[in-house]
């Protein structure tokens, strides 16, 4: 992958895939926001995409890759809920430590950046087509 030449289309295309991974992680976190489990170790922990620049020395262009998807080291929230079938011997359940507003912001930010990339791509495409047709 390191040896591939970048052009404006691959720059925008790869960045769009990266944003999509970021949106997927936010969606997974939101979907699991109200999940509880009977053990602290079993509780869902939010995931986050880590972005890294991929630079093409030959052309000077830079795109972005998802270098990894990490699981946050957050402590699950203990809730006292004796009526829950998942409750342990103390009547507690462990809820996923998901910050729902932060995830929503992440989702919005990501989709706005995705839209910017689409806009960039369509402008570049139009200019390239005009150049080919020389009009």
């Amino acid at each position: 992958m390191a040896g591939t030449d970048l052009n404006i289309f691959s720059v925008a295309g790869r960045a769009m895939s990266a944003q999509q991974v970021r949106m997927n992680t936010a969606a997974s976190n939101l979907a699991n926001a109200s999940a509880v489990s009977s053990k602290e170790s079993d509780a869902y922990r939010p995931i986050k995409a880590v972005f890294a620049t991929q630079m093409d020395k030959a052309t000077g262009l830079a795109t972005v890759n998802v270098s990894s998807v990490v699981r946050a080291d957050a402590t699950p929230v203990r809730q006292h809920d004796p009526g829950n079938p998942l409750a342990d011997e103390n009547g507690d359940v462990w809820a996923a430590p998901v910050d729902e507003s932060a995830e929503m912001v992440e989702m919005l930010d990501s989709s706005r950046q995705y839209q910017n990339l689409v806009e960039t791509l369509s402008t570049a495409k139009q200019l390239m087509l005009d150049t080919i047709r020389m009009k």
């Binding site: 970021r22 972005f51 262009l61 910017n116 020389m134």
Partner: protein
């Protein structure tokens, strides 16, 4: 504009300008792509400097490489990223309009040469 500009082949300065515009478009697109990458430093080509260097005889790569500068952020962010999407979009549109105008000049030149060949 200095005289050497008219001695740069059939299409004058417009061919060079189009190449530089295209390169600058890629660079600004890279900035927009890296809007969320921590520690990414936004870069841009100073078009005037690059074109002047090109007119004075530098190659396309030399001229562009010498005119690349890091963007100075209006407000630095905590994650070390210096991309300000609004500014990048303004630069991108400006460059796209410049590209389209250069292309129009170029295609006029091509039309002229075609007419000359046909002897109309």
């Amino acid at each position: 504009m200095s005289d050497p500009a008219s001695n740069t082949g059939l299409f004058g300065v417009h061919g060079m300008a189009l190449e530089l515009r295209s390169q600058r478009m890629g660079l600004i697109a890279s900035n927009i792509a890296n809007a969320a990458t921590p520690n990414y430093k936004a870069r841009d080509i100073d078009f005037n400097t690059a074109l002047n260097a090109r007119i004075k005889g530098a190659s396309q790569d030399q001229a562009a490489a010498a005119a690349v500068q890091y963007r100075v952020p209006v407000m630095p962010s905590l994650d070390g990223n210096t991309v300000e999407t609004g500014n990048e979009q303004v630069a991108f549109s400006q460059n796209a309009v410049g590209y389209a105008s250069t292309l129009a000049f170029l295609s006029d030149d091509v039309g002229e040469v075609k007419r000359a060949i046909k002897g109309e």
